[in-house]
């Protein structure tokens, strides 16, 4: 994380430097990343970090209403997750299953567990040792998006894989 912050800081410095002269003629650029592409400096994550996992593999898969079966899109993301986990053996993963608010509290706890388990089984099928994986369900208790329309519900029917350094459970 700290290293990433440094990268970002360097990027910001370069950007500010690049902008300092034009700024005297035009408005100040408030977004330090605004000219990132022009300056040719990208910001990235370091391999072997949780941020890198999220950025490269994708940490979240989505589910249709009431379903815990994996969509083709979900399988693609999970294959990437498995690939990352297989390359970074020092990490364990906790899979958090969630449901949208359309459903009773208790059923949604069970549904979230089913979703987390689907992800766990797929990762194991892709060669990740089961001892490195744990699951938990939050049911509908921890929505990602808070509106009460399908736009938010789609984002909330999810399983999120959270990696952390450690040998696993």
């Amino acid at each position: 994380m700290k290293i990433i912050v440094k990268f970002a800081a360097i990027g910001a410095l370069l950007t500010i430097a690049a902008c300092s002269r034009p700024a005297q003629q035009g408005p100040l650029v408030n977004d330090p990343y605004a000219n990132m592409n022009q300056s040719g400096v990208g910001v990235g994550t370091l391999p072997g970090t949780a941020e890198h996992f999220k950025a490269t593999a994708g940490d979240t898969v989505l589910f249709p209403v009431d379903q815990s079966t994996l969509t083709p899109e979900a399988r693609t993301i999970l294959a990437n997750q498995a690939g990352w986990l297989n390359q970074n053996q020092g990490f364990a993963a906790r899979i958090e299953g969630h449901a949208d608010e359309q459903g009773t509290r208790e059923y949604n706890l069970a549904l979230g567990a089913r979703r987390a388990s689907s992800v766990q089984e797929y990762l194991i099928s892709q060669g990740v040792a089961s001892g490195r994986l744990s699951t938990v369900s939050y049911g509908k208790e921890r929505p990602l998006a808070i509106c009460s329309t399908e736009e938010c519900y789609t984002k909330n029917r999810r399983a999120q894989t959270v990696v952390s350094p450690g040998a696993g459970m």
Binding site: G103, T104, E106, S117, V136, I146
Partner: protein
Amino acid sequence: MLRKLFLTSALALAGLGLAAPVLAQDGPLRIEITDGVIEPMPFAISTFHDEGGAGELLSQVQNLIAADLTGTGLFREIPSTAHIARPDGFETPVAYEDWKAINAQALITGAVRVEGGKVIVKFRLFDVFAGQPLGDGMQFDASTGNWRRAAHKAADQVYARLTGEGPYFDSRVAFVQESGPKDARRKRIGVMDYDGANVKYLTDDSSLVLAPRFSPDGSKLLYTSFVSGFPKAMMLDVNSLGSRPLADQQGMSFSPRFSPDGRWIVYSLEKNGNTDIYQMDAASGAQRPLTNAPSIETSPSFSPDGSQIVFESDRSGQPQLYIMSASGGEPKRISFGSGRYGTPVWSPRGDMIAFTRQEGGKFHIGVMRTDGSEEKMLTESFLDEGPTWAPNGRVVMFTRVTPGGNGEPRLHSVDITGRNMRPVKLNGAASDPDWGPLLP
């Protein structure tokens, strides 16, 4: 502690024996809850008498008795400004003609006295048009700090005599108090009187807690906690506030509930993503599965005789309600409507099951007979869930959630005819009510 005494002087005055009063040809004054829309029965409370040191408690007790009765939607109070009779004391004979003139069908008289840290509440109930007392006069005493209980007890007696139903005002409700934004909600377990008074919190909000359920005697609560990082069924002692996990197990456990005799606990246990219902001996901790299916089985609730369990299962594709023997075995499906059914709870009277039904983008609280017949929706909203029965099986309380990013849950109650929907007077957001037993 609360004590009740029959007022024997009332019997002497009224010249009645211990037998129930025999009334005129119309039968006893009674209001039927099972009727459809009804006109509330008009009643009057003759201004209570201070028989020594009652002070503010005099009007507080009287007002609470009135609030309990009018809160049912079954009764309408005739304001004291309309009263003609102004009796001198509790023993003053009732001037029935004066109460008839203002159309009071039932009359409550009472007195309050405070003595040695105790409040003593006396009352009598009269059938005005029959010109007779309705049952015996009674007296309740409680510590002054518990004055609400004495008033609830008196109101319970009036309610029971006028409806023929069991009492329920003198009871407590466990619930979850909620605070904070929707995506980072904080929750803690509270208990309150049935009307939202006397709130007390039993846990802090440092970890998520869900769905508290009373033991039959009200001394313990089962609930689900994330304190370990995973959902686990826990037991909390209401007095000592000590808590412990139910079992040291792999997988998550949730949805715990006591059997009516307190001997057993049923709950959901998840293993490898699949949730089944388990039974635990509350004394020994010995456990065994009651269901064994690849579908989700959860939300078990005992019949009042302890012989059967109603629960929800999605074995048919969508969650529906099933009943099985308390020892497990093949369940029988009882719900067949469209949509999804969940959170069934068996009425303490044994005759009905209340549930959550989700259909056509709406949620309902509904009731049905235990064979699935006479299904009836009591409510409809964006999100209603988790009914719990009043001790008399005539009212259910539930959670209603408002939609949107600022949406939050509130407790509401409704009677089993679908009438008298009202919010529970409680500050702040709350969910997952569980109505405890009638207090002794």
